[in-house]
Amino acid sequence: MDLFGPSRTMNLSGNLNALVIVDDFSRYTWTLFLAAKNDTFHAFKRLAKLLENEKSFKIVFIRSDHGGEFQNEKFEHFCEKHGIKHNFSAPSTPQQNGVVERKNRSLEELARTMLNENSLPKYFWADAVNIACYVLNRVLIRPILKKTPYELFKGRKPVLSHLKVFGCKCFILNNCKESLGKFDAKADEGVFLGYATQSHAYRVYNKRLMTVEESMHVVFNEANPKLQDHVPKIADGEETTLKKKSTAELESIVGN
C-alpha cells in the first residue's frame, strides 16, 4: 500500500493523489484517487470492508511506509479493532515496500505514454492511471503460478475483447438525453477515457458538453493519430512545388 502524488494537475473531479493498493499474492491492484492525503484512511476503510465482504475472508496484514497518512491514530485504532497487523518498511527505505513502489512506476509510465501518444491534457492523468491499472490486472503474468492477477483474484479468465485505445476519438449517441431537433447531429464527439466500474459501459469525455459520462452507445475511431499526422508532415517537407515550364523552355535549360 502506498500513495503517490500530489500531482501538479488536478483531475476533473479535483483529485491530486493516488493511493495504490496491491494484493501481495495475486498482485491484483486497486488505485483510489484522493483530493488530500488525509482521506487515505476513509478510502482504505471502505475498500477493506468491500474486499472482506466480497472474498469472505479477513485482511491479515498490510504493509506501508512511515508516511503520515498511514502511521496515525485512526489507522492504529482500525487495525487494533479488526486484528490487522500493520507492517512498516524501515524508515527511509522504500526498497522494503518494493512491490507497490514498482507498481507505481509501471502505472505512471503507462499513463505517461498514453497521455503523450494522443497529446491529451494532463488533467486526464487519473483516467490514464486507472485504465493502466485495469489492463495490468488483466494481462500481467504472475511468475511460477503462470496466471494473471485477475484470474488469481476472481477465479476466472479475463476477457479482453472490449478493450479500446485510451484517448481515441469516439462518437457518443445522444439518445434522449436532451430533445433533439429534426436535423441536429445525432452524436457528440468525445474522448475515450476508460471502462465504467459500476455498469457495463464506457467512460467518455463529451467534448460538446465538457463532461465525463458513461455510455454504451459509442462508436470508436482507433486509428493512430501519429500515423495520420505523419502523412501531411512528409508532404510538407516535400512541398517543393516543382515548377514546370513548358517543354521547349526546359529543353533549352537542361540542354548543357
Binding site: 479468465k157 478493450l163 500515423l227 515550364k245
Partner: protein, 157 residues
C-alpha cells in the same frame, strides 16, 4: 533541379560541373540526391544547383525512365509504364505547377493502414510485444486474436 538543400531526403554533396541556362548564364552543381518520403514516393537524381530560385523537373528524364507525359490546356498528366496516372499538374498562367503536397493522394492510402498487432499493443497500454505471445501460449485471456505479435518497428508514442 532545385536550389533548396532542405527539400532533400538524401543528399550527396559533390561538385560536378555547371548547368547552362537559356541566357547562357551558368549555375554551379553542388550535389545530387533524392526527394521524397524515402519509401513509397521518390524522385531520384535531383541536382542541387547554386542560386536556383525555382525548382525544375526534367521531362526528358521522366520519359527516359518510362513515364509518359501528356500536356493539356489546363493540366498535365504523368502516367507510368502501365498507363495509370501517377501525378497531375495544374497550369497557372503559362507555367505547369507540380504540387506534391496535393498530388500525393495515392500515398495516403498506403500509410493509414495499421497493423492489428499494433492496434492491440495500443489497446493494452503499450505492453511488450512478446507478452502477447506469452498470454496466447498459455491461454490466459479471452478475446485476444491469435496473431503472431512481433515488434517490427518503433512505437510512435
Amino acid at each position: 533541379m532545385t536550389g533548396d538543400k532542405t527539400k532533400f531526403a538524401k543528399l550527396e554533396l559533390k561538385e560536378e560541373g555547371f548547368v547552362t541556362y537559356g541566357d547562357n548564364n551558368k549555375g554551379r552543381i553542388l550535389g545530387n540526391g533524392v526527394i521524397g518520403n524515402g519509401s513509397s514516393f521518390n524522385i531520384k537524381n535531383v541536382l542541387l544547383v547554386e542560386g536556383l530560385k525555382n525548382n525544375l523537373i526534367s521531362i526528358s528524364q521522366l520519359c527516359d525512365k518510362g513515364f509518359k507525359v501528356m500536356f493539356e490546356p489546363n493540366n498535365c498528366l504523368i502516367y507510368d509504364a502501365h498507363g495509370s496516372i501517377v501525378l497531375i499538374e495544374k497550369r497557372v498562367n503559362n507555367i505547369y505547377l507540380l504540387d506534391l503536397h496535393h498530388a500525393s493522394f495515392n500515398i495516403h492510402c498506403l500509410l493509414t493502414k495499421e497493423d492489428d498487432t499494433w492496434l492491440w499493443h495500443r489497446r493494452l497500454c503499450h505492453i511488450h510485444m512478446q507478452h502477447f505471445n506469452r498470454l496466447n501460449q498459455k491461454q490466459l485471456v479471452e478475446g485476444l486474436p491469435k496473431l503472431k505479435f512481433k515488434k517490427d518497428r518503433l512505437c510512435e508514442a
